[in-house]
Symmetry: C2
Subunit: 121 residues, 2 copies
Amino acid sequence: MLDTAGCPDCKRINDVLSRVGDRWSVLVVISLARDGTLRFNELKKNLGISQRMLSLTLKELERDGLVHRTYHPTIPPKVEYTLTEMGQSFREPVSALGYWALENLTKIDAARQAYDKSVAK
Amino acid sequence: MLDTAGCPDCKRINDVLSRVGDRWSVLVVISLARDGTLRFNELKKNLGISQRMLSLTLKELERDGLVHRTYHPTIPPKVEYTLTEMGQSFREPVSALGYWALENLTKIDAARQAYDKSVAK
DNA sequence: CATAGTGGTTCCCTATTTGTTACCGAGGTT
DNA sequence: AACCTCGGTAACAAATAGGGAACCACTATG
């Protein structure tokens, strides 16, 4: 099972999607793309993400080479996050997705309401 | 919590992403985009998805107005799925993401290996 | 009679994800 | 001395995702 026969690219797309395709990763990239450099607690406040999930998400993004982490060993410590070159290049498809989302949000809501009404009756 | 203050669009993007952003939805859209019309068991075979998840995914996509379902009351029954106009428009950002994924898969793998090695030592 | 084929739905169980809370260290502030 | 800040980590609890198998209706075929 799960051999995805018949759609060879599906498996690879699937691979990448399961890495960078989660909600928080995308939102972190969007935030960093907009603001350039952000500190840990700035991201946390901006996104309304829990400390734990932000920590995990940033660690994954750093591991995948999309985000660069700069640690300043001051007291209190200061850590800055920026996009790497690959992270920058990720902006384009993500922006495309974001724009589509904003443009089609109302259509989706309308479709949902219509569907729910037609099912309920 | 979770008020996403400071990034008003984030919440909305988040909304849409949590609807159409899961792995199976994306793969179903890709398959339908490529083949035009597919039946339930064709999708199931192509994607290696379980019957349950395919059923749930298709129902959601239909509800969101991305997929159109045509039921032929023959014996045995025949159901055909196609993309709606909005589903077609979703192809573009998804394709962009797919191309990025294919282009950067090896880079991500390399970054991962480098990161893991630097942490392990 | 039994079986297969089609498009599901429902129940059960497990695995993964996500959130909550508490805690840390080192130095500065009150 | 007590408390605050920053950037996390560890432990625990809850929610969700996902697979597998069984079942359904209906009919044609062997």
